[in-house]
């Protein structure tokens, strides 16, 4: 369990870099990341379902300007890590989405604080251009480390919390989470129609 959590967190940290900081090949989008995490947790089918649901739910937010959408990687890795311990996907998905929203605020904080030492670094860069390479590497390393710690802690804490309250969860609460989970693809599909609205020409 511990080794899988660390493996999933390391993979999430690498994939999260692709979201904004390097490459942007979209290997980090839930549709691709879902099956990858599914493979690591031993249930590719669950990975596909979580990937499709997470991507449909986030289809109405784009990273325009300074907007930071909820992390697709976090929204995908958390439910699958919890699913591996026997927690239902509909509980995990709720935690995953909440964690993805929280992570976007942490990322925004990182981007804000980055400027405080950028002023000092710009002077150094003008003197020695090699500093740009070091600065970018340090940024990437810090972002990956933050993602790794965040994902590991969220998996560990949410597994512990759900398993503690699990005996007290009535069938009605299960039904509520299941119903909301079933509504996700419908809400997502409804959001796609305005996304493809023809505004050009």
């Amino acid at each position: 369990m511990m080794s899988t959590t660390l493996l999933l967190s390391a993979m999430a940290a690498l994939l999260e870099l692709d979201t904004t900081y390097v490459f942007q090949t979209l290997v980090s989008r839930p549709l691709v990341a879902g099956p990858i995490f599914g493979l690591l947790t031993g249930d590719v089918m669950a990975g596909i379902q979580i990937g499709v649901f997470a991507e449909l739910l986030g289809a109405d937010i784009s990273p325009l300007g300074g907007v930071i959408p909820p992390s697709g990687v976090v929204a995908t890795v958390i439910p699958l890590a919890l699913h591996q311990t026997g927690i239902e996907l509909y509980f995990g998905f709720f935690i995953g989405i909440a964690a993805a929203l929280l992570y976007s605020h942490i990322d925004a904080y990182l981007r804000k604080t980055r400027f405080t030492w950028l002023v000092y670094l710009e002077i150094k860069i003008a003197k020695s251009p090699r500093v740009i390479w070091h600065t970018l590497c340090a940024n990437l390393l810090l972002s990956a480390l933050v993602t790794f710690v965040f994902v590991s802690l969220t998996i560990w804490l949410s597994t512990w919390a759900i398993l503690a309250v699990f005996p007290y969860l009535t069938p009605k609460i299960h039904l509520a989470f299941q119903l909301a989970y079933l509504a996700v693809p419908w809400i997502g599909l409804a959001a796609l129609l305005p996304v493809f609205r023809l505004k050009t020409r």
Binding site: Y21, Q24, T25, L26, R29, L31, V32, P35, M45, I48, V52, E55, L57, G58, A59, D60, I61, S62, L64, G66, F94, I97, A98, A100, L101, R111, K112, R114, F115, L118, E122, I125, A126, P129, I132, W133, T135, L136, L140, K172, I173, L175, A176, F177, Q178, L179, A180, Y181, A183, P185, I187, L189, A190, A191, L192, P194, V195, L198, T200, R201
Partner: protein, 273 residues
């Protein structure tokens, strides 16, 4: 600009957003992409280099894929600055460079956001989902017992990953070449492609695919119902209500993730009482 310099800029362009910050946005990444070109251009004049680099460290923000059109154009303009003979001419060329960078980054961002984030990304989502459906993978059912072959599971993500990157890498590579050789009258090569027409047709395909998906989802939902009872009626009313509600939240610019989290809380409260 030779092939190897272009290849170097192309590779470095993947790191454009590595130093993203809320004040100067992609300035570090932009300087990083242009660095080998500037070092070669100012090889004979190292004293001018810090001042030149300072210009590249100013605010820069555009779409990561479409940014390739800025690199070629900026390189061309920088060559003109480096070859100036007088201070007046230098100031004029620097002013032109600054204005071009500002205008080109805004235009490229607008095209890139509409084309890549607003059209190609959601369209590839639909292509993957439709591909899975055609191969018999039904993810609308939460209790799925069907075990498809592994190639069926992987073909959709591999296909859309390849499709998106083929398009994005093509634009990245071509953008540097076209913008370097094109003149300002063609918006530094931005008018080389008919972006509006491309977006228009891709969005039309997107609408057709979305309608197909909705029809399939309705069919799949109805096929799972064993009998039309009160439970089915309650499920249908609840889902229809939240779909209609999502149109309202969309108009209010509230993202669907908040609608989902609210749905969970409302359903839990309703189910408890």
């Amino acid at each position: 600009m030779n092939f190897w310099m272009r290849a170097n800029m192309f590779f470095r362009s993947f790191f454009l957003q590595a130093g993203w910050n809320y004040v100067k946005y992609q300035n570090l990444g932009f300087a990083f992409v242009m660095l080998p070109f500037l070092q070669r251009l100012y090889k004979q004049d190292p004293g001018a280099f810090p001042t030149v680099l300072q210009r590249y460290l100013d605010t820069f923000n555009t779409h990561p894929v479409m940014s390739s059109f800025c690199y070629g154009a900026m390189a061309k303009q920088e060559e003109a600055i480096a070859s100036t003979q007088s201070i007046a001419e230098y100031k004029e060329k620097v002013f032109e460079w600054t204005e071009t960078r500002r205008a080109l980054s805004i235009t490229a961002a607008s095209i890139g956001d509409r084309l890549f984030w607003g059209t190609i990304k959601p369209l590839t989502l639909l292509i993957a989902v439709l591909l899975w459906i055609l191969l018999g993978v039904n993810f609308f059912e939460t209790q799925n017992t069907y075990e498809p072959a592994s190639w069926v599971l992987w073909i959709a993500p591999i296909f859309i990953f390849t499709l998106y990157n083929a398009l994005a890498w093509f634009v990245r590579w071509k953008g540097i070449k076209i913008s370097y050789s094109a003149d300002p009258s063609s918006c530094f090569g931005l008018t080389y492609f008919d972006w509006n027409k491309t977006i228009y047709w891709l969005k039309k395909i997107g609408v057709i695919f979305t309608i197909l998906m909705i029809l399939f989802a309705i069919g799949s939902y109805l096929s799972t119902v064993e009998e039309f009872n009160l439970q089915f009626a309650v499920h249908t009313i609840l889902i229809s209500f939240f779909v209609l509600f999502s149109f309202i939240t969309h108009r209010l610019k509230i993202p669907n993730v908040y609608l989902y989290l609210t749905t969970v809380i409302i359903f839990t409260v309703v189910c408890l009482f």
